[in-house]
C-alpha cells in the first residue's frame, strides 16, 4: 500500500489539493474563501499536468542544438522532458488568473451592494430587502 502511494505520489498530492479546494468551495461561507478554494482547485490540476511531463533519470529540458542548420546530435525523445503539458499549462494559468480577476471584481461589486462578503448575511439582507420591497 505504502509503495503504491509513494510510487504515484504526484497524483496523491494533486487529489488531496483538489479535495481541499472543493471543500473550501462547498463548505466555507465567506465568498473570498470560496474563491481561494477555487484557486487551489485549479492549481491542483495545473500541478497534475506539470508533473506528467516530468521524466526521471538523465533527461534535459528540450532545447535542441543546431549548427549551420543541422542538428548537433540525433534526437531521442527519451532524453528530453515532455514540454507539451507545460506549454498547455501556461495557457491554463492565464485562464485561471483571468477567472480570479473577474471573480475579485465581482466580489467588489458584491461588497459595495451588501457591505459584507458572508454568504449567510447576504442572503439575509436580500430576504429583508425583498420583504420591504426595496
Amino acid at each position: 500500500m505504502l509503495e503504491f502511494v509513494i510510487s504515484k505520489y504526484n497524483f496523491w498530492i494533486y487529489v488531496i489539493l483538489m479535495m481541499i479546494g472543493l471543500y473550501a468551495m462547498l463548505a466555507k461561507r465567506n465568498l473570498v474563501k470560496k474563491l481561494i478554494g477555487m484557486n487551489i482547485f485549479q492549481t491542483a490540476i495545473i500541478l497534475f499536468y506539470v508533473s506528467i511531463g516530468v521524466k526521471k533519470g538523465n533527461v534535459q529540458v528540450p532545447i535542441i542544438l543546431t549548427e549551420h542548420g543541422h542538428l548537433v546530435k540525433a534526437i531521442r525523445a527519451a532524453d528530453y522532458l515532455n514540454p507539451l503539458p507545460h506549454v498547455l499549462m501556461l495557457t491554463a494559468i492565464v485562464v485561471s488568473i483571468a477567472t480570479t480577476g473577474v471573480a475579485l471584481a465581482v466580489l467588489i461589486l458584491i461588497y459595495r451592494r451588501y457591505q459584507t462578503l458572508n454568504e449567510d448575511e447576504i442572503l439575509a439582507i436580500r430576504q429583508q430587502r425583498r420583504e420591504t420591497g426595496a
Binding site: M25, L31, I45, I52, V106
Partner: protein, 497 residues
C-alpha cells in the same frame, strides 16, 4: 479567401472586440453599428461555410499550416457548420437588439459590454469549430469569462448570481481539463479525430473510464443538466435583456454540442452503452430534468424566471435525445438544439422588449399586453407554440423525433414523461398568454359596455425586428425540417446505428 473562412470566423470577432474599446471611447454611439457590421460579416461567413460543407463534405483547416495531430486542426462537418450558423445568427439578432436595450439598461457601459459581447461570440464559435480538446477548453473559458462579465452588468442581485456561476463554471471547466489530461497521458494526443482512432484499444483501462466520466461531468455542469443546474436560473434572470437573449439560447446548447462530440465522435457510443453504461443514467437524468424544470417553471410568478427554468427543462430534451443512442433520438437532439436556439432567442428577446416597456416581468402585470404590444406578443406566441410542439413550428418536429427515438429504444416510460412535460409546458405558457389577453385575470363575464381603447406602444423597431426575425426562423426551420434532416443531420449520423 473562402479557404481562410474557418480562421477568419474566429479572428474577426476577436480583433473586433479589441477595436471596440478605442472606437467606443471615441464615441459611444459607434458601438451599435460596429457590432451589427461584425456580426453580419461572421454570419455570412458561417452560412458560406455551411454551404461549402453541404456541397463538398467536411473541411479540415490547419492552423498555421501545422499537420494534425501536432498542430491545431479546425475540422468542420455539417454539425459544427450548423452550430456556427446558429451562434452567429443569434449573435446577429442580439447585436441589432443591443442598441436600444443596452441604452436603457446599462447606459454608459455600452463600450465594454459590446466588446465582451464579441468575445462571447468568439468563444462560442471557437468551441464548436476547433477539433483540438485543449483548444476547446480555452474557448470554453473565453466564452464563460465574457459571459460572467456580461451577466454581472445586470440587475441588483447580478453580482452574487455571477459569483455562483463563476464557481460552478470553473469547477466544470476544470473537470473537463482533468479529463483531457487523462486522455493525454494514455494516448499522447489532443486531436479529436486522432484520439477517436487511438482510444478503442484502451477502452478497458480505468484511465479512459475516469477521463470519460470527468469530461461528461464537466460538460454537464456547463450545460446545467439536473442536478447541476442551480447556477442557471439566477444568473440568466439577473442578466441584461440582450445578454439573456443571447446567452440563454447559446451556452447550454453549445455544451450540448460538446456532449454529442464526446459521446459519439471522441468515444464510440458503444463505450457508453456497454463498458461504461452511463447513457442509461443520462436518459433518466434528462427525464428528471425536463419534469423538474417544468414544475419549477410553473411555480414561478415572474416571466423571465419562468423562462430560465424552461431552459433547464429543454436541456433535458437534448440530453434525452443524446442518451437514446439511435438514429431518431440523435436527429431529435440536433433538431431540439436548432429549435431551442430559435425559440429561446425569440422568447427571451420578446420578454426583454416587454421589460423595456413595462419595467418588470411579473406575470400579473402583463394584463392587456396583446393590445399594447401586439407584434411582440404575436412573436412570443409563435415561440410558445414551438416550445409546446404545435406544427408547423420546429418544436413539433424535434419532439416527434424524440418520441420516435424513445419508441425505437423501447422506453415507454420516457414517452409518458415527454408527453407529460408537454402538458406542463402548456400549463405554464398559457398562463402567461391568458394574463396578456385580458385586462383583469378574472374577467367580468356580465360586462356589456365595450372595453376602453388601449394605445399601442411597441418597443423600438431595433428591438422589435430581432424578435420578429427569430419568430419567423422558428416557422421557417420547421417548414424546412425535411431539408435539414436530409442535408445536415443524415451525413453526421454516427456509424453503427
Amino acid at each position: 479567401m473562402v479557404q481562410q473562412f474557418p480562421a477568419l470566423i474566429i479572428i474577426i470577432p476577436l480583433f473586433a472586440a479589441l477595436i471596440t474599446v478605442p472606437l467606443g471611447s471615441f464615441n459611444r454611439r459607434f458601438c451599435h453599428p460596429w457590432l451589427i457590421l461584425v456580426m453580419a460579416a461572421t454570419g455570412l461567413m458561417a452560412i458560406a461555410l455551411l454551404g461549402q460543407v453541404i456541397a463538398h463534405g467536411p473541411i479540415s483547416y490547419r492552423m498555421g499550416g501545422w499537420q494534425p495531430p501536432w498542430g491545431i486542426e479546425y475540422r468542420i462537418d455539417e454539425l459544427n457548420a450548423l452550430m456556427l450558423v446558429l451562434i452567429t445568427g443569434a449573435g446577429f439578432l442580439g447585436a441589432i437588439y443591443s442598441g436600444a436595450s443596452f441604452k436603457k439598461e446599462i447606459d454608459g457601459r455600452q463600450t465594454m459590454a459590446s466588446s465582451l459581447y464579441l468575445m462571447m461570440i468568439t468563444g462560442l464559435s471557437g468551441i464548436v469549430i476547433t477539433g483540438d480538446l485543449f483548444n476547446i477548453f480555452v474557448f470554453l473559458e473565453i466564452a464563460s469569462l465574457s459571459g460572467y462579465g456580461l451577466i454581472a452588468c445586470g440587475g441588483n442581485d447580478a453580482p452574487l448570481a455571477t459569483f455562483r456561476y463563476i464557481i460552478m463554471g470553473t469547477i466544470g471547466a476544470s473537470c473537463y481539463l482533468l479529463g483531457v489530461g487523462y486522455l493525454y497521458i494514455s494516448t499522447g494526443s489532443l486531436n479529436l479525430m486522432d484520439l477517436s482512432r487511438l482510444l478503442p484499444e484502451l477502452y478497458h483501462t480505468r484511465v479512459i473510464l475516469t477521463a470519460g466520466a470527468l469530461m461528461l461531468v464537466g460538460i454537464a455542469l456547463k450545460m446545467a443538466l439536473f442536478p447541476l443546474h442551480a447556477w442557471l436560473p439566477e444568473a440568466y434572470y439577473e442578466a441584461p435583456s440582450t445578454v439573456s437573449g443571447v446567452a440563454a439560447p447559446l451556452y447550454t446548447k453549445v455544451a450540448g454540442y460538446l456532449m454529442i462530440r464526446i459521446i459519439y465522435n471522441l468515444f464510440d457510443f458503444h463505450f457508453f452503452t456497454e463498458i461504461f453504461p452511463i447513457l442509461e443514467v443520462l436518459g433518466w437524468l434528462a427525464i428528471i430534468a425536463l419534469l423538474i424544470g417544468s414544475l419549477y417553471a410553473i411555480a414561478q410568478t415572474d416571466l423571465k424566471k419562468m423562462l430560465c427554468y424552461s431552459v433547464i427543462a429543454q436541456v433535458g430534451y437534448i440530453v434525452l435525445g443524446i442518451a437514446l443512442a439511435n438514429r431518431a433520438g440523435f436527429s431529435g437532439a440536433i433538431l431540439t438544439i436548432i429549435n431551442e436556439v430559435c425559440t429561446k432567442s425569440c422568447i427571451f428577446l420578446a420578454t426583454g422588449a416587454i421589460i423595456y416597456r413595462l419595467g418588470d416581468s411579473r406575470i400579473t402585470s402583463l394584463g392587456n399586453l396583446f393590445r399594447r404590444m401586439p407584434i411582440t406578443m404575436l412573436a412570443f406566441t409563435v415561440g410558445v407554440f414551438s416550445m409546446i410542439g404545435i406544427p408547423p413550428t420546429m418544436g413539433f418536429f424535434s419532439k416527434l423525433y424524440l418520441i420516435f427515438g424513445c419508441l425505437e429504444a423501447g422506453h415507454w416510460s420516457f414517452i409518458a414523461a415527454l408527453l407529460l412535460s408537454t402538458i406542463l409546458n402548456v400549463v405554464y405558457f398559457f398562463r402567461v398568454i391568458k394574463a396578456a389577453c385580458f385586462e383583469d385575470p378574472r374577467p367580468d363575464y356580465q360586462r356589456t359596455e365595450p372595453y376602453p381603447e388601449v394605445a399601442v406602444e411597441e418597443a423600438p423597431a431595433s428591438m422589435l425586428l430581432p424578435v420578429v426575425a427569430a419568430a419567423s426562423a422558428i416557422v421557417l426551420t420547421g417548414l424546412g425540417s425535411h431539408w435539414i434532416i436530409l442535408n445536415i443531420i443524415r451525413p453526421i449520423i454516427p456509424a453503427g446505428f
